[in-house]
C-alpha cells in the first residue's frame, strides 16, 4: 500500500497530497515535487511519439533507497503520484495500475461536483476516504 498519494495540478502545484507517517510529510513533499521532473520528461517523450493514444500510466518514475515513486497523468495533465515503500515488495505493477485507476475515477467524481472549482485543492471526503483506503494504515 502507498505511503504517499499526491494529485498535482497541470501547473504543478499540489491539489492534494497525503502521506503516512505524518512526521515524514516534508520528505514526501520533496520527493513528489522532484518526481515532477521525471513526469515531465516522460510526458514530453511520449508526446512526441503518439499524443492521442497515450498510456496514462507512466510507470516507475524513479526508485530511491526507501521508496518507489510511480506516476500517472490524465489527459488534462493532472498528475497522480503514488509513493510506495521499497520494502513493500508485494505490490506489483498491476496493483499500482489499479490504484491509479481508482484514484482517477475518484478524481473524476470530484471534478464532476458542480461545487468544486477546478484548480482548488481537493477537500472531498469521498476522495479522502478512498485515498485512506489505499494508504498504509499507520499503526
Amino acid at each position: 500500500m502507498a505511503v504517499c498519494i499526491a494529485v498535482i495540478a497541470k501547473e504543478n502545484y499540489p491539489l492534494y497530497i497525503r502521506s503516512v507517517p505524518i512526521q515524514n510529510e516534508l520528505k514526501f513533499h520533496y520527493t513528489v515535487h522532484t518526481s515532477l521532473d521525471v513526469v515531465e520528461e516522460k510526458i514530453s517523450a511520449v508526446g512526441k511519439a503518439m499524443a492521442d493514444q497515450r498510456e496514462l500510466y507512466l510507470g516507475l518514475l524513479y526508485p530511491t533507497e526507501d521508496y518507489k515513486v510511480y506516476g500517472y497523468v490524465t489527459n488534462s495533465k493532472v498528475k497522480f503520484v503514488i509513493v510506495v515503500d521499497s520494502s513493500n515488495t508485494s505490490l506489483r505493477d498491476n496493483e499500482i495500475r489499479s490504484m491509479f485507476r481508482k484514484l482517477h475515477n475518484s478524481f473524476t467524481d470530484v471534478m464532476c461536483n458542480p461545487f468544486y472549482n477546478p484548480g482548488d485543492t481537493i477537500q472531498s471526503k469521498a476522495f479522502d476516504s478512498m485515498v485512506t483506503a489505499m494508504m498504509v494504515q499507520a499503526s
Partner: protein
C-alpha cells in the same frame, strides 16, 4: 589414430569449442592427426550451422569451434557429472589404415577397445575417420584393403567418414574435406544439443528440488552458471544473461520469502555479518575470487550480488547495452540496501554507504570506459541517478564521520572512519595504478575535512550540472539545497544563499507550501548569519504568518521582528526605517466608507474603515497605521457628484481579493473572470436586440502568460523587493493601534478638500514599516465644497399662462450657512405676480436627502420686490418651498416678428420671449444674501389657447367667426365669450349667435363662436375687434375664471361684387350630357360703390373698373372650350351687371360641382403705355392673362392651358419682353360673393359612349 573430444573452459576466450585429438594407446596415428589439425581447426568454425532447439525456442545460426584433446579414459565423464564445460561431445577415431593385414592385426582390436570404453561410459557420440592417401596406396599395392570392405566393416559398427588425400590440393580432396566438415559439424552439434538438453533437464530437476532440505543455492548457482558460460562461448549473450537473471530472480525471491518469514537454511550464510564492503568490481569479466567464495558457500550477500552484477554487466556490455547497466546498477544498489535490511545483516554503520558509493563510481567508471564522450553526454539521464546517489552517500558518510562540522571530526567519529576504511581492504590490483579509482576517492574523502569537501563539492556540482543539462531542474534544486545545508554547516552562508533562493523560488512558483516553509526557515537562518537585516525581517514576517509552522516557531519569528524594531528605537538610531512588504504581515480585506458614497462636503468627516487581517501569531502594537492618499488634481474641487468605484456589491464597501497566501501558487490565484453582459440594441427600435454577448473585462489579467518569469505581484515570497514609499504624500493616520491576530478594524477620517486616491498603507512598528505598496482596485473618495445654488422649477410638466401655477424653489446651501434674517428678494414683474400669501411652509433636507426640518417662510411684498425671509439652515442642506405665480397672457395679437423687434429695444424688465409654440418666458431676478449678483430665474409658461378668426359673408351680410382651440393638456370651462370693437367708433353692431351657457373645452379641442355684423352707415374699411372670454380649469373645484383676450383686425369687409353662374344644357336638351358641350353663363354684378381709395393710380378710369374673370376647374371634371378667362369692364354705378358666356364640356356624369369662377381686379400697365389694349368690352386674350397673373394657381388653369398652348406661349413671350405688364390683384375675402359657390349640376351619361373623348393632359 583416434579421436577427440570437446571441452569448454571458462578461462578461454569465449565461444571457442575445443576438441582434442586423442590417440589410443599403442596406435601410431598421432602423427596423422597432427598433420590434419591445423586445417581442421581453421575450417571447422568457418561456416555456421543452424542450431535447432528444444521447447520451441527459435533456431539460431552458430559457428562451432572445437578444442581437440587426446583421448584418455579419465576424461570420460563419470556418472552424475554435471560439468558441461569439460564435457567431451564427440569422439573421433582417426586412421589411415588401408592394409587388410594391418587392419586385422591391430586397428580392429584397437578400435573395438576404444568403443568398449566409450560404451562403458555411455557415450554414443563417436565417429571414425579413415584418411586415404594415394601415397599409402602406392606404397602398399599388394595388400590393399579394399576401401569398400573396410568402410563396410566399420559401417557395421557405426559411422565412418572417408577423407581422401586431405593434404593434396585437388578437387577430390576439397570435396572430401567439405563433406567431412559438414559431417563433423552435424555430429558435433547433435551431440551438443543432446547433451545440453540433458544438462538443462538435470538443472531443472535440481531446481525443482529447491524446497527440499539440504538444497543449496550456491550449488545450483554453479550449475546454471555452467549453462551461462556455454551460451556465452557460443556468443549467445542474451541466453547467458537470461541464466543470470533467473538466478538473480530466484535469489531475490528467497530473500523476499525470508522477509515474509519463510527462511531457508542455505540463506544463513548470507545473513552473516558483512566484513568487507569493497564495492562492485567490474573490470574483470569473471571475478574468480568471489566465484570461489560462492562455490564454497562462504560468500556474503554483497559478494553474491556483486558477482552476479559483474557477470550481468559484462554480458550487457557485450550486448552493447551500457545504459541498462546503469539502470540495473541503481536498482541493484537500492535492492541490496533493502535486502540487507530484510535479512537483518549486521553491518558497520556507514559500511553500506561506502559500498554503495564505491559501487556507483565503479559502474560509472566502467561505463565511461566503454563509451565515448558524446555518447556519455547524450545519455546523462541514465547516469545522473548514480551520480546523485553517490553524492548522497558521500554526504551521509561525511556527516557520519564528522567531516562536515566546522570543528572537524571527534574521536568517536575518527574511530568510525578507521573502521570503515578497514572494511575496504586493500585496493584491487586492477586499479592500484589508476589515479582516480573509486577506492582512492573514498579513502581520500574520508581522510580529511578538506578532501571531503573537495570531493563532495565536485560530485554535487557534477550532479547538479547533469540534472540541469537534462532539464530536471527540481532534482538539481534538491541537490542544491543539500549543498546549501552543507555550506551552512560549514559556516559559509554566502554560498548557501543562492542555492536556497533558487529552490525557494521554484517551490513558491509551483505552490508547494511545506517545502516553501522548510526552505524559508533555512533561508531565515542563512540571512540572519549574513546580517541581511531587511531580508531576514521579511522572511521572518513570512514565517511568522506561516500556518505550516507551530505556534512556538511563529511566535519566535514574530518576536525577532519586534525585538529588532524595539532595539533600534532604543538606540535612537538615525538609520532609516526598514520597509517591508505588508502582504506577509497583514492583508487588507475590506475597506468601507462612511458615508457609503465616499463623497462628503467640506466640514464633515469622511470615515474610512479598513479591515486588516493580521497574519501574526501575537498581537502587534503599531505606533501608527498610515494610509497615504494622492490628491487628484484634475478632479479637484468638483461639484460633489457621486463617484468612486462603480458596481460594488455593497455601496461604500470595497472588497479586496485575497492576496496570495504563501501556500497558493500564483497561477491558482489568478484573477477570476470579470464578465459583463453586453447588448447591442437596434438604434431604431429599442425593443429589438441586434446581438448580445458576454465580455470579459479583465482579459489582460486572465490571459497573462503564466509561465513567464515570476510576476511582480509576488515579490514578497522569494526575496523582498524594495518597497517604495510615497514621500510627501498626504496621509491618513491612526496612531497606537494594536493588531490582534485575525481581523482588525481601523478607522481613518479625512476632512481635507479634494478627490483622493488611496495609494499605500503603511504600518509602523518601531523601526520597521510594513508597506502595502499598491491598493488595488483603485479606491477614491472625495471631500468637496459647493457654492449655494438656487433653482426654481415648475411643479407640473407645463406651466400654463393665465392660471395660478406652482413652482418649487430649491435652495442648496452649499458651504453657506443661512442665518436668521437672510432673505431672498424677488424683483416683481407685472406679467408674473407672485401670488403666495404672507407665509408658506418650507422643508429642510440634509445632504443625503433626509428630511430634517420644517419651517415657515414669511413673504412680504412691496411694489417692486417680494421679500422671502429664509429660516436658518445649516450648510449642505436643501431648503425647499413652493411659490404660486401667475403669468398674465398678453392680449396683443401675437406676431412673432414684431415681438422680436420689441424684445431687444423696448421691453427690458418685462420680457416675453414668444415662441411658435405659444409659450411665454418671463424672467425674474432674485437677489440672494450670499452674493452681490442677482440670480436670473426663467420660467416657461404655455398659453393654453390658440385663437383664429375668419370673416364669413352671405351676400351683403357679414359674420365674424372666432375659433378658440385648447392646446393644453387640461380641460377648461369657458364662458362669457364676447366680441367688441376696439374703438367703439363706428355704428357697428355685433350680435352674438352663441350660447350663453358655460362650455367645456376639452384638451386639443376647439370652440367656434360667430357674430353677426350689422352696420347702419358705411361699413368701416378696417374693423378692429377684441375677443374676450373667461376660462377656468375644469379640474378645479372652485372655478375662478380668468380672462382671455384676442385682438384682431379685419379690412375691406364690404361685398363689392356678386357673381352668379348658371350652367345650361345644349339647346334642345333637358340635361347636360357628359362629353357634350353646354354653356356657362355668369353674371357679375356690382353691389356697392367702389371706395375712393380702393384703386389708387386708376384715376383716369373712375367711370369703370376692369375685372378679370377666370373659369377654372379644380376637379378636372370640366373642359373649357374657347376662352376661359377674360376682362370685363364694370361701370361704376351700382347694380351694373356684366354677363359672360363660356362653353364647357363635362367629362363625367353625375352631380358635378360648378367650376370655380375667380374674379380679379385688373390693373392695366402703366398709363403711358402705347399699346393700351382696347378698353371697351372684352379683351379676348387668353394668353396675356394667363402669363401675367401674379397669383400662382397654375393647378386651377391646367385644363385651360392645355389648349392652344403653342400659340399662346410664343406670343406671350414676345409681349412680355417689350411691354410693361398688366397686373392682377385679388380681392379680399368677402369683397366678392359667389352665389353659385358650391352649386352642382346634374350631368347625364353620354348617350353614345362609343365616342367618349378621353382627354389626357
Amino acid at each position: 589414430g583416434s579421436l577427440s573430444l570437446s571441452s569448454f573452459l571458462p578461462s578461454l576466450p569465449p565461444s571457442s569449442f575445443l576438441i582434442s585429438p586423442v590417440s589410443p594407446p599403442g596406435a601410431g596415428d598421432q602423427a596423422l592427426f597432427t598433420s590434419l589439425y591445423t586445417p581442421l581447426a581453421q575450417q571447422l568454425p568457418r561456416e555456421p550451422m543452424e542450431w535447432r532447439r528444444s521447447y520451441g525456442r527459435a533456431p539460431k545460426m552458430i559457428h562451432l569451434e572445437a578444442n581437440f584433446v587426446q583421448f584418455k579414459e579419465e576424461l570420460l565423464p563419470k556418472e552424475g557429472n554435471k560439468a558441461l564445460l569439460t564435457f567431451p561431445f564427440l569422439h573421433i577415431y582417426w586412421t589411415d589404415c588401408c592394409d587388410t593385414e594391418v587392419y586385422k592385426a591391430s586397428v580392429r582390436d584397437n578400435m573395438m577397445r576404444w568403443q568398449g570404453k566409450l560404451r562403458l561410459h555411455g557415450s554414443a557420440d563417436w565417429v571414425i575417420v579413415v584418411v586415404e592417401t594415394s601415397d599409402a596406396k602406392k606404397k602398399n599395392k599388394t595388400n590393399i584393403l579394399p576401401r569398400s570392405s573396410l568402410v563396410d566393416k566399420i559401417h557395421q559398427i557405426k559411422i565412418c567418414v572417408v577423407l581422401s588425400d586431405p593434404l593434396q590440393d585437388s578437387s577430390r580432396s576439397q570435396e572430401s574435406w567439405s563433406a567431412f566438415l559438414l559431417k563433423l559439424r552435424t555430429l558435433l552439434l547433435m551431440s551438443f544439443t543432446q547433451n545440453l538438453g540433458r544438462f538443462e533437464d538435470d538443472m531443472r530437476t535440481l531446481r525443482e528440488k529447491r524446497n527440499q532440505p539440504g538444497w543449496s543455492f550456491c550449488d545450483y548457482f554453479m550449475v546454471q552458471e555452467e549453462l551461462a558460460f556455454v551460451f556465452e562461448m557460443l556468443q549467445q549473450f542474451e541466453e547467458a544473461l537470461l541464466q543470470y537473471d533467473e538466478l538473480d530472480a530466484l535469489f531475490t525471491q528467497y530473500v523476499l520469502n525470508f522477509g515474509a518469514g519463510d527462511g531457508v537454511n542455505w540463506l544463513g550464510s548470507f545473513c552473516s555479518p558483512v566484513k568487507s564492503w569493497t564495492g562492485l568490481l567490474l573490470r574483470r569479466p569473471i571475478d574468480m575470487e568471489k566465484r570461489d567464495g560462492i562455490q564454497r558457500g562462504q560468500a556474503s550477500l554483497l559478494e553474491l550480488r556483486s558477482y552476479l552484477f559483474c557477470r550481468q554487466c559484462t554480458l550487457l556490455i557485450f550486448l552493447q547495452r551500457p545504459w541498462e547497466v546503469t539502470q540495473r546498477a541503481l536498482e541493484l544498489l537500492h535492492n541490496c540496501v533493502q535486502e540487507l535490511c530484510l535479512l537483518e545483516v549486521s553491518m558497520l554503520e556507514g559500511a553500506l554507504d561506502c559500498w554503495v558509493f564505491l559501487s556507483c563510481l565503479e559502474v560509472l567508471h566502467r561505463i565511461e570506459g566503454c563509451c565515448d564522450q558524446a555518447q556519455l553526454e547524450a545519455n546523462v539521464s541514465h547516469t545522473v541517478g548514480l551520480w546523485a546517489y553517490a553524492t548522497d552517500k558521500l554526504k551521509s558518510l561525511g556527516y557520519m564521520c564528522g567531516l562536515v562540522s566546522e570543528k572537524g571530526p571527534l574521536s568517536l567519529e575518527l574511530n568510525r572512519t578507521v573502521d570503515l576504511l578497514a572494511g575496504l581492504g586493500d585496493e584491487k590490483a586492477e586499479t592500484v595504478h589508476s589515479l582516480q579509482s573509486p577506492y582512492k576517492k573514498l579513502k581520500e574523502a574520508l581522510s580529511s575535512v578538506e578532501a571531503f569537501e573537495r570531493h563532495y563539492l565536485e560530485l554535487s556540482h557534477a550532479a547538479v550540472e547533469m540534472y540541469r543539462a537534462i532539464g530536471r531542474m527540481r532534482s538539481a534544486q534538491l541537490i542544491g539545497k543539500s549543498l546549501a545545508e552543507f555550506y551552512m554547516r560549514k559556516g559559509d552562508p554566502e554560498l548557501a544563499e543562492s542555492f536556497l533562493q533558487n529552490a525557494l523560488r521554484s517551490y513558491v512558483s509551483e505552490g508547494w507550501s511545506l517545502p516553501v516553509t522548510h526552505t524559508r526557515k533555512q533561508m531565515a537562518e542563512c540571512q540572519k548569519l549574513l546580517g541581511k537585516t531587511e531580508n531576514y525581517l521579511q522572511t521572518s514576517a513570512l514565517l511568522a504568518g506561516d500556518a505550516n509552522l507551530t505556534d512556538e516557531e511563529r511566535i519566535h519569528f514574530c518576536q525577532e521582528i519586534l525585538t529588532f524594531a524595539n532595539q533600534s528605537t532604543d538606540s535612537k538610531g538615525k538609520q532609516p526605517k526598514v520597509a517591508l512588504s505588508m502582504s506577509s504581515f497583514a492583508q487588507l480585506k475590506q475597506l468601507q466608507f462612511r458615508p457609503a458614497t465616499a463623497t462628503v462636503h467640506s466640514g464633515t468627516a469622511l470615515q474610512v474603515e479598513l479591515c486588516l487581517l493580521s497574519l501574526m501569531p501575537v498581537a502587534v502594537p503599531l505606533e501608527q497605521l498610515a494610509a497615504s492618499v494622492h490628491l487628484n488634481l484634475e478632479q479637484g474641487g468638483t461639484n460633489g457628484k457621486t463617484r468612486g468605484p462603480q458596481s460594488r456589491p455593497y455601496p461604500g464597501t470595497v472588497l479586496f481579493p485575497l492576496a496570495n497566501s504563501s501556500g497558493m501558487p500564483p497561477s491558482a490565484a489568478c484573477p477570476s473572470l470579470e464578465l459583463e453582459e453586453i447588448q447591442d440594441r437596434s438604434p431604431l427600435d429599442p425593443h429589438t436586440l441586434n446581438s448580445t454577448g458576454m465580455v470579459c473585462k479583465n482579459t489582460h489579467l486572465v490571459m497573462r502568460r503564466h509561465d513567464s518569469s515570476p510576476s511582480p505581484d509576488t515579490p514578497n515570497l522569494v526575496s523582498p523587493v524594495p518597497v517604495v514609499m510615497d514621500d510627501g504624500a498626504k496621509v491618513l493616520m491612526s496612531g497606537d493601534v494594536t493588531l490582534l491576530p485575525g481581523n482588525n478594524s481601523i478607522v481613518f477620517s479625512s476632512q481635507e478638500l479634494g478627490t483622493y486616491t488611496l495609494r499605500q498603507l503603511c504600518a509602523t512598528v518601531g523601526q520597521v514599516q510594513f508597506v502595502l505598496p499598491h491598493i488595488s482596485p483603485l479606491v477614491q473618495y472625495e471631500v468637496y465644497s459647493q457654492e449655494p445654488q438656487l433653482t426654481v422649477e415648475p411643479l407640473t410638466d407645463q406651466l400654463l399662462a393665465g392660471l395660478p401655477q406652482r413652482a418649487k424653489v430649491r435652495l442648496q446651501t452649499g458651504h453657506y450657512t443661512v442665518k436668521k434674517g437672510d432673505a431672498l428678494q424677488l424683483t416683481n414683474i407685472d406679467s408674473m405676480p407672485v401670488l403666495t400669501s404672507s407665509s408658506c411652509p418650507a422643508t429642510i433636507l440634509n445632504s443625503t436627502a433626509e428630511h430634517v426640518g420644517e419651517s415657515v417662510l414669511f413673504i412680504q411684498s412691496s411694489e417692486k420686490v417680494t421679500c422671502i425671509s429664509l429660516p436658518p439652515t445649516p450648510p449642505y442642506h436643501t431648503l425647499e418651498f413652493q411659490l404660486e405665480v401667475l403669468c398674465v397672457i398678453p392680449s396683443d395679437p401675437v406676431w412673432p416678428e414684431n415681438q422680436r423687434l420689441t424684445n431687444g429695444e423696448i421691453r427690458h424688465r418685462n420680457i416675453f420671449c414668444h415662441c411658435l409654440c405659444h409659450c411665454l418666458c418671463p424672467q425674474m431676478s432674485i437677489d440672494c444674501p450670499w452674493s452681490i449678483y442677482s440670480t436670473p430665474i426663467s420660467l416657461t409658461f404655455y398659453i393654453p389657447f390658440k385663437a383664429k378668426h375668419s370673416l364669413l359673408s352671405a351676400g351683403n351680410r357679414k359674420y365674424i367667426q372666432v375659433c378658440l382651440q385648447n392646446v393644453s393638456d387640461v380641460n377648461f370651462h369657458l364662458m362669457d365669450q364676447r366680441l367688441t370693437e376696439k374703438h367703439q367708433e363706428s355704428s357697428l353692431e355685433l350680435q352674438s349667435l352663441n350660447t350663453k351657457a358655460q362650455q367645456l373645452v376639452c384638451s386639443k379641442q376647439s370652440v367656434y363662436c360667430v357674430w353677426d355684423v350689422r352696420w347702419k352707415e358705411n361699413m368701416p374699411l378696417c374693423l378692429q375687434c377684441v375677443f374676450s372670454a373667461s376660462f377656468s380649469s375644469a379640474s378645479e373645484e372652485v372655478s375662478s375664471f380668468k380672462p382671455y383676450h384676442y385682438e384682431f383686425q379685419l379690412e375691406r369687409v364690404t361685398t363689392l361684387y356678386s357673381v352668379r353662374a348658371e350652367i345650361m344644357p345644349a339647346a334642345g336638351e333637358q340635361n347636360c350630357h357628359s362629353g357634350s358641350l353646354c354653356g356657362l353663363e355668369m353674371s357679375i354684378t356690382r353691389l356697392a360703390e367702389p371706395e375712393d381709395n380702393e384703386d389708387d393710380g386708376e384715376t383716369e378710369e373712375v367711370c369703370s373698373t376692369k375685372l378679370m374673370y377666370e373659369v377654372a376647374d379644380s376637379s378636372n371634371s370640366w373642359v373649357v372650350y374657347g376662352r376661359s378667362s377674360g376682362l370685363v369692364s364694370m361701370p361704376a354705378d351700382a347694380n351694373a351687371n356684366h354677363r359672360v358666356q363660356v362653353e364647357l364640356m363635362p367629362l363625367f356624369a353625375g352631380h358635378l360641382p360648378f367650376p370655380d369662377i375667380k374674379v380679379f381686379k385688373y390693373l392695366p400697365p402703366s398709363a403711358n403705355s402705347t399699346s393700351q389694349p382696347d378698353t371697351d368690352g372684352c379683351v379676348e386674350n387668353d394668353t396675356l392673362s394667363l402669363l401675367d397673373r401674379p397669383l400662382d394657381d397654375q393647378g386651377d388653369t391646367a385644363s385651360i392651358r392645355s389648349r392652344g398652348s403653342v400659340h399662346s406661349v410664343g406670343s406671350g413671350e414676345q409681349q412680355s419682353r417689350g411691354l410693361p405688364m398688366p397686373r392682377l390683384e385679388p380681392f379680399n375675402p368677402g369683397q366678392v360673393f359667389n352665389h353659385s359657390q358650391g352649386c352642382q349640376v346634374l350631368v347625364l351619361p353620354s348617350t353614345d359612349d362609343h365616342v367618349l373623348e378621353i382627354n389626357a393632359t
